[in-house]
């Protein structure tokens, strides 16, 4: 249905999309997720040529969109787009918004176009709003009308560009439930969204975009349940990270604490968890401080805003022992505290680094 080969897009020297190749089959519902600025909307806009690609090929039902002989407007009639900002005609009533394009472009009679518009408005729960103007509607109602207007053209493909991003949170669900219903009816849909639960429920496939490329793709189960790559994992878990390097055992504990405290404040880590994290860092570093062979140490604090899980990663030079296996009276108290703070721990050796991963209990 949609074939994209080596698609790229640059704005001047700034590369937004790099070498994207995908094949989307009829009836697929694709959610496109990823951090802001990763090129999600540009990807969608390139597919229907609202942004012209810098390179690559796009075929819609076998038609080469970049062939100068292609009637792009005609292809767009079958591949409609719903925008974040609704883009309704403010001077036209709801019914006129829905009937204008079918009459002008599909050659439908007014009677036929209005019959279809009534049917669609009832379908999206706005049967009473035929004669209202967009300004008389809430954001959620406007977006539902925009979806109905799109359906009035009887498209085979719909591209949704962050359809709920401009909405008040109370109105998101009404729009998502309309899109859910369309997904069940077998329309081919590409949806750029930040609504992760929705993407998991509605999609047949999920593309995770990062740095202008499809970094990882898979079924919702794979992407949300068991993502394979680090950036996908961090995004799905809404993970925030703090990095610090300690060069010797004479490191400045208070400076490190200040960094950790600032990180925790910025990401609203609960006070109870902050205390556990600060304590864990001090206790573990006391153990590392017993030998210069542990230094330099790279410390990473990962915090999942989604689950509240805090992780502490300590990377030390190869050959250094697992500090949690130190014996002795001096380390016994610290080890007892560490054990109580942890949910789990892992120590791995590699050629270059030894990595200790500590997972804090979620209080």
């Amino acid at each position: 249905m949609i074939t994209v080969e080596h698609l790229s897009k640059s704005f001047g020297d700034f590369s937004v999309l790099r070498d994207i190749s995908v094949d989307i089959k009829q009836g697929e519902v694709i959610s496109i997720i990823g951090p802001s600025g990763s090129g999600k909307s540009t990807f969608l806009r390139c597919i229907n040529l609202l942004d012209r690609p810098s390179g690559g090929k796009i075929r819609i039902k076998g038609i080469d969109m970049l062939d100068r002989h292609t009637d792009v407007a005609k292809v767009r009639q079958k591949m409609n787009m719903v925008f974040q900002s609704f883009n309704l005609f403010a001077h036209l009533s709801v019914i006129d918004n829905l009937t204008l394009a079918p009459m002008k472009l599909l050659g439908k009679s007014r009677q036929e176009a209005e019959r279809k518009a009534h049917e669609l408005l009832r379908l999206i729960g706005l049967g009473e709003k035929y004669y209202c103007f967009p300004d008389e509607l809430s954001g959620g109602q406007k977006q539902r009308v925009a979806i109905a207007r799109c359906l009035a053209m009887e498209p085979e493909i719909i591209l949704f560009d962050e359809p709920t991003s401009a909405l008040d949170p109370t109105m998101v669900s009404e729009v998502l439930s309309v899109i859910r219903r369309l997904a069940k009816e077998g329309l081919t849909m590409l949806i750029v969204t930040h609504e992760m639960d929705f993407a998991r429920d509605v999609s047949t496939r999920v593309f995770y975009l990062d740095e202008g490329a499809i970094y990882e793709q898979g079924t919702p189960g794979e992407i949300f349940g068991n993502p394979g790559r680090e950036k996908t994992k961090a995004f799905i878990r809404r993970q925030q990270s703090l990095y610090q390097r300690l060069f010797s055992a004479d490191f400045d504990l208070y400076s490190l604490n200040a960094e950790v405290e600032s990180f925790c404040s910025r990401h609203l880590v609960p006070l109870k968890s902050r205390h556990g994290l600060t304590l864990l860092i001090e206790e573990v570093l006391q153990l590392y401080g017993t030998s210069s062979s542990f230094f330099p140490i790279d410390i990473t604090v990962n915090y999942s805003e989604k689950t509240g899980q805090l992780e502490l990663l300590l990377e030390s030079p190869p050959g250094s022992a697992n500090p949690l296996e130190l014996q002795g009276e001096d380390s016994a108290l610290g080890l007892a505290i560490i054990r109580n703070l942890l949910l789990d721990r892992e120590f791995t050796h590699s050629d270059n680094r030894n990595i200790l991963k500590l997972y804090l209990k979620n209080p």
Binding site: L279, A336, I337
Partner: protein, 112 residues
């Protein structure tokens, strides 16, 4: 960490506040050693205003307690709450020391 002392009839009340960690624990040890050297042997340590303690703080507490007992003195702990109480429980310290709910309760345990 701030350490304040108040002389009572039966003991010296040592009120610690702030953080008792790897950086500040030596200050506590130094202070108690100075007091011991000046002949003070009965202590009630008030933890009510202490926000944070780590194993370094606990070790300082343990080593000073040994010195006090070596001099036939006594040390009672009081007012251990919140995060500090949790660390005491995690480390098993709660079973090593008798902890009193308030400074007054601790003082009553000592001969006037």
């Amino acid at each position: 960490m701030t350490i304040e002392t108040i002389k009572q009839t039966s003991a010296l009340v040592v009120a610690v506040s702030g953080r008792m960690d790897a950086v500040t624990a030596p200050e506590y040890e130094k202070k108690i050693n100075e007091l011991l050297d000046s002949g003070e042997v009965s202590y009630v340590v008030d933890f009510g205003q202490l926000e944070y303690i780590s194993s370094a703080g606990l070790r300082a507490l343990l080593s000073t307690t040994r010195r006090i007992r070596d001099k036939q003195g006594c040390i009672l702990l009081a007012n251990i709450v919140g995060n500090v109480k949790e660390v005491f429980e995690m480390s098993g310290f709660g079973s090593i020391f008798t902890v009193h709910a308030t400074v007054d309760q601790a003082l009553k345990m000592l001969p006037g």
